[in-house]
Subunit: 730 residues, 2 copies
């Protein structure tokens, strides 16, 4: 183990330390009035109840999958014996990160509202640092898990001369990502259904039927709505990016082990730890970045955005410099090219964020045109949003295409020859790591959003003064902007991570094949045997496009995407309906709710949303978990590879379409509310409100859930690779 | 040329003869009152004006492409010298079919309305036989063009011993499909934008602002709306299926020539003419089927549907028997398996139609649930329709997956070995031909819809009696059902045709490669050289899934689909806006319109829709035509193959989603209008009307346009294959 590796556990510890410090600092702030404390307590309890219920389901699912993995590992011998444990650890740490992040967020909201009574700056800093708890816990725990496993497996797995030791280690560690993926499935899909069922349900009865404003404490579903922000946007987003962060590092480690096999153990080790080190340094820079976020009193929206952006950007610039130094220090051949791939990944992340902003912010023409379409009613608002959303998907697709091409080309020195393929795939992995390297601070800005939102809700419900409200409004508006770009970033990084995972799937199959041939790691005509076996390999598994199994796989991948997103979309509709029924029932049976004399039964609504979400996510989850296994069993490796690329490409496009259409409808409504095209209360406004409601499940349920689908399906294929290779039907 | 081949020109002649007879018979009917004649005259003139304008643009585009093809053929020598002529002939015959079909439809509408004054049966028969003019002209002209070229090329292209003559002939003939594809692009995309711009524009001002009913002669856009039905649903649908019919036959002929190379010239010829013969016999059976459609007076909706279905089904059953006899007679090896592939294609077509009906008809729960969602407003109607539409795409995708797998397996005797690949691809082609074999009568039922719709419009505008109205309503309702299943069939057959085209793309590249190697057609270790070259071939072009160019191509394919459908969606919005402005202007400036004293300026609205459609289709057309060429130049054959499979798979899914969501919204509205969930005029009804308007561009513009995109992109790649092979950048 080279000395520099210890930077990884060190930065993990530092991230967790600062998370703890920020949490302690936040807890020392006052929660404000009795009422503020009480409302926050309700939300906290609701969020806790949701998490407990979710973890119950998750534990059962984890038990089942662990049993299956144990049979595969110990019974059939098609999996490494460490796999079940790595799987569990991934799930455990991801769950822990969600737990801490949510705790921090729900403790923070009233305190942020209270801090806004003092000044805007103290509100911003408190909200942002509470968000940083989530960001740092996520990256810290990922790096803890990676460090522990890498150290342990290096000790326990016996040395071999041919470089297979590191292949085995990285392959086992990748299954830790499967645990994170499964946890993320429940957090993101369940959380997504929860939050929109509560939101849509609360709006439909409260705003429309009873005519009471949003966030009104008389609405029984209002606490569930606030819980939903935490459940969906904090815990769900956190689990999603926990997985991307872990999977991109681990996949790249495996790609490094495969690419540098035969280059000597030291070089191979350096290639494996390179992504870990970049992530570690990115984490240290994220901590530094968090300290740079501050603002002056009376700051404009633009200044607020600038102060957040300053922290994020400085981290990004520094990681560009630091990663060059790391690669230089590690002495990888073509380190300049690999560094180029990292930079490409970072730039792609920024590009996707920019394109998201262009298509969803009311400062630009696409969203304004959607708002203008309200002049001819809600139907044209929906048509315009759909058209713009579809077109908007083309830009990030184009960015990813350019990023893949360049990352691959840089890492191979612009050669598309088969013998350089491994380096190219490593380049794609490294690009994903680059994009996610400063996740600590990026995720802090994401988690900041729902905290500011809840602080605003708390201030509203407790009737705090106009000045305080204007401050929380400013923070909230900022949160909406970061949420939109954050969503684009989450999808983009999911796509790049999924591609890195797909590449590692190829490498794993190839290793199995080479082992199966029992080929020595010698040079044949100057080419390592493993390279020579490449042509045979593609032939053996028929992963070429003339093979109908590949074509069929691609169609099935697209099918999985449409089925999954349709299911999550309908799930929101059904779960919201249950919420509507409950709220109506409470209004009718509990007297004094509407006059404010009696407190409604908030807990019941939380329970309904919780149960609805858990029940509704069953079918989509089964689609995500079982389709790859079934396709593998029927159509083998060829079918699976087709399936995965079909899922990743179409899932990415559909996710962007949904996120951007939803974001644009949301902001078109806000644009009208700002007084354009008739302003609040006009018929045009009503038309955009309909667009906004349609957009809710688009941008907060179905869209983000697709991030999980594309990663999980590749993960499930990677982990069960031995099954497809050994037992496929055709 | 075997004697049996002459069945093809014979059935072509017979189809055209009967089309002429049906047309003459229809023309002998009376057009009814003066007013009926006048209205029909307006629509006819509008349709003619549109066609003239479109043909002008088409001629320019054809000239440009012909020049490019001539340079490629005569200048650079990367194309066969016959290609430019084949291209032009395809465009010419497709345009001719559209012209005759539209003539028949626009002459028929008033006559059908008038016939309904006598009896339902005479109305049905007249409408259906007028639709049959379109159906028979399309299949007849396709078969004429195929016959002419096959005979001519057999004479002019010199005999070779190695079987390349038929490869060359079929490759040249396939470019006739490119002409049909380009024509279809303009007819389907332009027609789709036209019809919905007019429809949405007419509804928004007429129904909502001025409060006058649909099809009211006081609305200046009402004629444009009726023209749109003909332009979009008759000419557009006809050109779409003209292309599918031609391309499936021609691609399969090429696949047959490739699969049976080295099996002797006679056998190879039989494999080439097999798809032509099946189409020819299917055409004869279609003519027979048309004669079986009749109904009794006072028939219920179900009986009407049954009488249409009887003609279609009897043709389908007979083609199953006849195609077995043809294959037996031709003596192809494994003719039972190939016959199985034909049957699979037919069954897949039926299956997709059934699934379309299930997801869009108000008799089933999906559409009823969308209608029920109206209880909580328009937003939940849109959400439910989107969810259902997305899920509904999974079923046809599954059917296509099963169809490909079985068609391939039957044709190869359930072997997935590389040496049988050619036969498998031939099986997929044959399945597409099977699905489309009875197009003559299927298309008749499709074209029947808009004729009945226009007859209803005519009756409404002319204030015919209640009994007549109820008869035209019955015919119209039937037309809606056939239109929905017809859309599913058009998409399904487009997907299968595109896959057959993709297979023929592979074969063309392979032939080029084999020629390039200058390999003799000998046996090497008992395997023909061409088979032995297969492994090299995949390697040479790197069409395997580990190649980043393939992955990038797939992403670009998905990108093209989203970009194209977003563009067509927004095009409708913009063109409709122009129509709204014009109608508003006429209401304000021309006095006496609303009182019915002065006739509005119908021609102006027709012109606006025409110009709007022509202008708006420019960008989507450029996407469809240039993306494959650019990708070919940059990423070569590997990039193109990825591009095509990405486009076909995601385009198919998105097309089904849009068509089914649109159809379901339409019928959910009708279900409420039938008195459910509050009935006509209720708030729930208004919510479903919004859903219906959103669905208009989904089901009639963007969805069907994707049929064209997926076929045209493959076609453009096939035709420019020499360019990608010779000049690609990477």
């Amino acid at each position: 183990m080279p000395l520099i590796f210890w930077l990884v556990p060190f930065s993990a510890a530092l991230a967790l330390l600062f998370a703890w410090i920020f949490f302690r600092q936040m807890m020392q702030h006052d929660e404000g009035t009795e009422k503020m404390r009480k409302i926050a307590e309700h939300v906290r309890k609701g969020a806790g109840a949701y998490l407990r219920q979710q973890y119950k389901v998750v534990i059962v699912v984890f038990l089942i999958i662990t049993v299956i993995f144990s049979i595969l590992a110990y019974g059939l011998g098609v999996q490494n014996p460490w796999v079940p444990f790595a799987f569990i650890s991934g799930g455990f740490f991801s769950g822990l990160a969600g737990f801490f992040g949510m705790k921090a967020a729900t403790f923070a909201s009233a305190r942020v509202a209270n801090a806004c009574r003092t000044s805007l700056n103290s509100g911003l800093r408190l909200a942002f640092r509470s968000g940083a708890v989530m960001g740092l816990v996520v990256v810290g725990l990922v790096l803890v898990d990676i460090s522990l496993w890498f150290i342990a497996l290096n000790i326990f797995i016996p040395e071999t001369a041919d470089g297979y030791k590191l292949m085995t280690i990285t392959a086992v560690m990748l299954t830790f990502g499967m645990g994170a993926s499964t946890q993320a499935l429940f957090a993101r899909v369940g959380g997504g259904i929860y939050t929109k069922a509560a939101d849509v349900g609360a709006d439909l009865v409260g705003k429309i039927e009873a005519g009471i404003p949003e966030d009104d404490p008389r609405n029984p579903a209002t606490i569930a709505d606030n819980v939903g922000d935490n459940v969906g946007d904090v815990a769900g987003m956190g689990a999603d990016l926990f997985e991307s962060f872990a999977a991109s590092i681990l996949a790249t480690a495996l790609l490094g082990a495969a690419a540098f096999i035969g280059h000597g153990l030291d070089m191979q080790t350096n290639a494996v730890i390179a992504p870990m080190l970049i992530a570690a340094v990115g984490t240290l820079l994220s901590i530094a970045g968090v300290f740079m976020v501050k603002t002056k009193e009376g700051a404009t929206q633009k200044q607020l955005l600038h102060s957040l952006g300053f922290g994020v950007n400085i981290s990004a610039v520094l990681i560009v410099i630091c990663s060059f130094l790391i690669l230089y220090f590690l002495g990888l051949p073509n380190y300049v090219g690999i560094w180029g791939s990292i930079v490409i990944g970072l730039l792609a992340g920024i590009g996707i964020g920019q394109s998201t902003e262009y298509f969803t912010a009311s400062a630009y023409s696409p969203t304004r045109k959607i708002a203008e379409a309200s002049k001819t009613g809600p139907a044209t608002v929906i048509i315009a949003g759909t058209g713009t959303g579809l077109i908007s998907a083309a830009v990030p697709l184009g960015i990813i295409v350019i990023a893949i091409t360049l990352a691959y080309s840089f890492a191979t020195g612009f050669s598309f020859h088969v013998e350089n393929l491994n380096f190219g795939l490593y380049g794609i992995g490294v690009a994903a790591v680059g994009m996610l390297s400063t996740l600590g601070i990026t995720l802090a800005t994401d988690a900041y959003g729902p905290i500011a939102d809840n602080a605003g809700g708390n201030a509203e419900m407790c009737g705090l003064g106009a000045e305080v409200r204007s401050r929380t409004d400013a923070l909230d508006a900022l949160g909406n902007t970061t949420a939109a770009t954050g969503k684009g970033f989450a999808i983009g990084s999911a796509a790049l991570t999924a591609l890195a995972l797909l590449a590692s799937y190829f490498e794993e199959v190839r290793m199995m094949y080479v082992k199966f041939l029992d080929m020595p790691n010698e040079l044949i005509n100057g080419v390592p045997a493993i390279e020579a076996a490449f042509i045979d390999f593609v032939y053996h598994f028929e992963i070429h496009l003339m093979n109908p199994k590949v074509i069929v796989g691609i169609f099935l991948g697209v099918m999985a995407v449409f089925l999954f997103s349709g299911m999550t979309m309908n799930a929101v509709g059904r779960a919201a309906q249950k919420m509507v029924d409950e709220v109506r029932c409470q209004f009718q049976t509990i007297e004094g709710i509407l006059t404010g004399e009696v407190e409604p039964d908030y807990a019941r609504c939380v329970e309904i949303s919780t149960k609805g979400a858990q029940k509704e996510m069953m079918w989509p989850s089964l689609v995500a978990l079982f389709i790859p296994v079934i396709v593998g069993l029927v159509f083998g490796v060829a079918g699976i590879t087709g399936l995965l690329i079909g899922t990743i490409s179409s899932g990415f496009a559909l996710a962007i379409f949904m996120a951007n259409a939803g974001g644009a409808w949301d902001n078109a409504k806000k644009y009208v509310e700002e007084g354009n095209f008739g302003g609040k209360g006009s018929e045009n406004h009503k038309a955009t409100v309909i667009g906004d409601t349609v957009g809710d499940p688009f941008k907060d349920t179905s869209g983000p859930s697709l991030n999980i689908l594309i990663k999980l399906m590749v993960m499930a294929s990677v982990v069960t690779v031995g099954v497809a290779v050994s037992y496929s039907l055709f």
